[in-house]
């Protein structure tokens, strides 16, 4: 079974530039998550999708971050404009969880973003 795919693996941009990350979840997984992991910290949930609907985006800085999941499969996370404090690893995860049942999340390798 193929895992969660993410690209690019690394990205370096200057502050105020924009950047986009892509995620392809495990086939058949209805739930998709984007996390931000700052060096030395645990992952922090940014947004959760159930199919192509948003379940939770309470911790997404909506003035600069946006995410979409078209057709309930792939997802993109965008930052515009980037700030220095956005330097982190952005992790995508998927699971077959539904409202009634929770199953463990499978994580992709992440995209390491450096903002200079």
């Amino acid at each position: 079974e193929a895992g969660v795919a993410q690209s690019p693996r690394y990205k370096i941009i200057e502050k105020r530039q924009s950047v986009a990350f892509w995620c392809n979840p495990i086939s058949g997984h209805a739930t998709l998550y984007w996390y931000q992991q700052i060096l030395g910290q645990g992952p922090k949930l940014l947004i959760q999708f159930q199919n192509n609907g948003v379940v939770d985006d309470s911790q997404l800085p909506k003035d600069r971050f946006s995410a979409e999941r078209l057709k309930g499969v792939d997802s993109t996370l965008k930052i515009q404009p980037a700030k220095l404090e956005d330097s982190a690893v952005y992790l995508c995860a998927s699971s077959s969880s539904t409202v009634a049942n929770y199953y463990e999340q499978y994580f992709g390798p992440g995209t390491r973003l450096t903002v200079t």
């Binding site: 645990g42 959760q48 939770d56 999340q105 499978y106 390798p109 992440g110």
Partner: protein, 109 residues
């Protein structure tokens, strides 16, 4: 505010030297307590889920236990390949995982 705290931040062990990692949590409506392993440059890898106080789960040299306020990850006779960061996460009532900052484990041969 929901919070998960892990200790120690870093732990160095000799191969074969058993020890425990601690995870204390205050998560309202806790549905489950999760342990993940994270290797450098990779995403977290699922290890265990614990749902009720007194529950224990084992996998090779790892055993996870849960009380009403804490969870422990016991490592018995560790090997160098057990070196990684171990993350603990509490699942709240809305199915959201709240992660601790992790314990970086280094096992020396």
């Amino acid at each position: 505010e929901d919070q998960v705290t892990q200790s120690p931040e870093a732990l160095r062990l000799q191969e074969g030297e058993s020890s425990s990692l601690n995870c204390s949590y205050t998560v309202s409506g806790l549905r489950g307590l999760f342990w993940y392993r994270q290797d450098p440059g990779k995403g977290p890898e699922f290890l265990f889920t614990l749902y009720s106080a007194g529950e224990e789960k084992e996998k090779e040299r790892l055993k996870a236990t849960l009380t009403k306020k804490e969870s422990f990850l016991h490592i018995t006779a560790p090997k160098p390949e057990d070196s990684a960061t171990y993350l603990c996460a509490g699942e709240d009532s809305s199915y959201k995982l709240i992660f601790g900052s992790g314990t970086r484990l280094l096992v020396r041969p």
